[in-house]
Amino acid sequence: MPAPRSLFDKVWDSHVIVARDEGPSLIYIDRDMIHEGSFHAFADLRRRGLAVRRPRQVFGTADHYAPTGGRRIADARTPEVGDVIRRFDDNMRWSGVRHFGLDDPRQGIVHVIGPELGITQPGLTIVCSDSHTSTQGALGALAFGVGQSENALVMATQALWQAKPKTLRITVEGRLGAGVTAKDLILAIIAKIGAGGAGGHAIEYAGPVIRAMSIEERLTVCNMSIEAAARCGMVAPDDTTFEYLHGRPFAPAGQQWEQALAYWRTLPGDDGAAFDREVAIDASAIEPMVTWGTSPEDAMPIGGAVPDPATLPDAQRRAAAEQALAYMGLRPGQPLEGLAIDRVFIGSCTNSRIEDLRAAAAVLDGRRAQVPVMIVPGSTAVKRQAEAEGLDRVFRAAGAEWLESGCSMCVAMNGDTVAPGERCASTSNRNFVGRQGPGARTHLMSPAMAAAAAVTGRLTDLRRLATGGRA
């Protein structure tokens, strides 16, 4: 009898072109997703006189540099940003790659539109020159980020040299409490295992809490796998996955749907499949989380206090924490709750889907933001959906800016920046030094927590907000 295999093993095995016992194997890549930053890869192809080998397997969208104030290149904050988008459009035309430009109704953040359009499917290998490609593993795909050299390689050959990662299963038992979300869960996981904690591993998220999650919640969890240094994050496909995919524009249809479905049902790991490592998480113990430092591992419950670096277990973390506190303008022992903030950003491939916007709207409904708030939907389709549900009116009534979709203030490439020294409550995934702009101070949290911070102007335990609106 063949040895029981995990989800990861099955997807990996079915894509190996040339197997090597040690080091990298040549694996087949089903989909490559492209954004404006991919221009280096196109320059490489053009220099070599190579074409994109199978352009219909490649999908491009404008997101990192997309202006949020309008849908024309002229809306870009600087001419240089506009040039990057123009160059992207040129490369898309040159290559024949399917292209969702700024004014396309299918445009959006690459990891939001992949699932939304049904491009992301169970059992596929997917790369994108973006580290948060791990997001797309939520549907049972093997999806990971690559650099521009590998991006060019995939476009030219549809293949990639990859060392097989080890496997790590994170089993989440119990139940998430009221006001505790997928974002809080993944922040708690990273705080527990560390920013390097899953290095060299493919994570499979399992257990009843993951099974009970919607696809959007699973996307949030898988999204931040990379913040624990994982190669990718995956969730075994189930009926939730299949229902989600059914009828999406690039999902299989008709007889092919039945064929695909039969195959997808074989993908979940076999009983007794071995993992190199296992981690167990008790969801019931998790509280709404915020970060205090400059690494996503610097996360703690909102009721906590800024740690004293002197109490940290090792010298390296002590030194890092001291630097982080200086950068963040915080003192050891300072309570996180009540910390005054300067602005709020709700968006990014972590938390910009419709469920995220509904959660933010439920808190903002009938309340006023005390600080500037930017709400940037993850895709043009999410924007339309939110407007159809009237969420835009809730946001505007609360005084928030309701903008066009893109990466925006998650990475500040399009010029949407947090000013030096400003403190931002953000639903994105990275609180790195300077990530949201030079000198920007980022606190990561869930959409509901960011909305709660907006209406009080302070880091706030949303469970303590007086029930006013729909929350």
Binding site: H15, I17, F39, H40, A159, A229, E297
Partner: protein, 206 residues
């Protein structure tokens, strides 16, 4: 790709852990073509203040490390964003090898494609080396890929491991894309079979 065989150079101790690629090159500097050179953006916000003045305390601005071509860094170096620009910036600045207890996966892969050697060493060794380099005066380190060995300023030698595939690519400066094109017959054969078994994964060819 520039081959890497052996390098003897001043090694600079970069403080900190989890040095992410946003630190190595801030996102706002990634709009230009590589041909313009990315070296000036390396560690930009650590090297320069808001007015563009050099921060004298930053390691690469200190006179004793001006000629550094090797970097010694803390755990999880190059974590975060997949931006290959981080490797462009290091390589264009003249850095040939980074010694650290561990690397971000994507950074590690990107480095290998660009002739920048990531050398993983035990954490206690790296920490002792960072202290020794900061104290000086001996600051020369040799990284020998052929022998898979580093020689530290105190003369001690330490082996390191690297996969033979990548070692050979680096030693010979193999162009990975060019080499992989040689596998197109295998790729095509695999593809025909895979598309027969999983026809829904084919998005068409026009």
């Amino acid at each position: 790709m520039t081959p890497f065989v052996r390098e003897t150079a001043i090694a600079a101790p970069l403080p900190g852990i989890n040095t992410d690629t946003d630190q190595i090159i801030p996102a706002r500097f990634m709009k230009r073509d590589r041909s313009e050179g990315y070296g000036r953006y390396l560690f930009h916000d650590l090297r320069f203040d808001a007015e563009g003045g050099k921060r004298p305390e930053f390691v690469l601005n200190r006179p004793e490390f001006r000629d550094a071509r090797i970097l010694v860094a803390g755990r999880n170096f190059g974590c975060g964003s997949s931006r290959e620009s981080a490797v462009y910036a290091l390589a264009d600045f003249g850095i040939r090898a980074v010694l650290a207890p561990g690397f971000g996966d994507i950074f590690h892969a990107n480095a290998l494609k660009n002739g920048l050697l990531p050398v993983a060493l035990p954490e206690d060794l790296v920490e002792a080396l960072r202290e020794r380099l900061a104290a000086g005066p001996a600051r020369e380190v040799t990284v020998d890929l052929e022998a898979q060995r580093v020689t530290l300023p105190d003369g001690s030698r330490h082996g390191f491991t690297i996969d033979a595939f990548w070692r050979d690519c680096l030693l010979q400066g193999v162009d990975e894309l060019g080499m992989t094109l040689g596998y197109l017959p295998q790729i095509e054969e695999f593809e025909r079979r895979a598309l027969r078994e999983r026809p829904w994964t084919d998005m068409g060819s026009e």
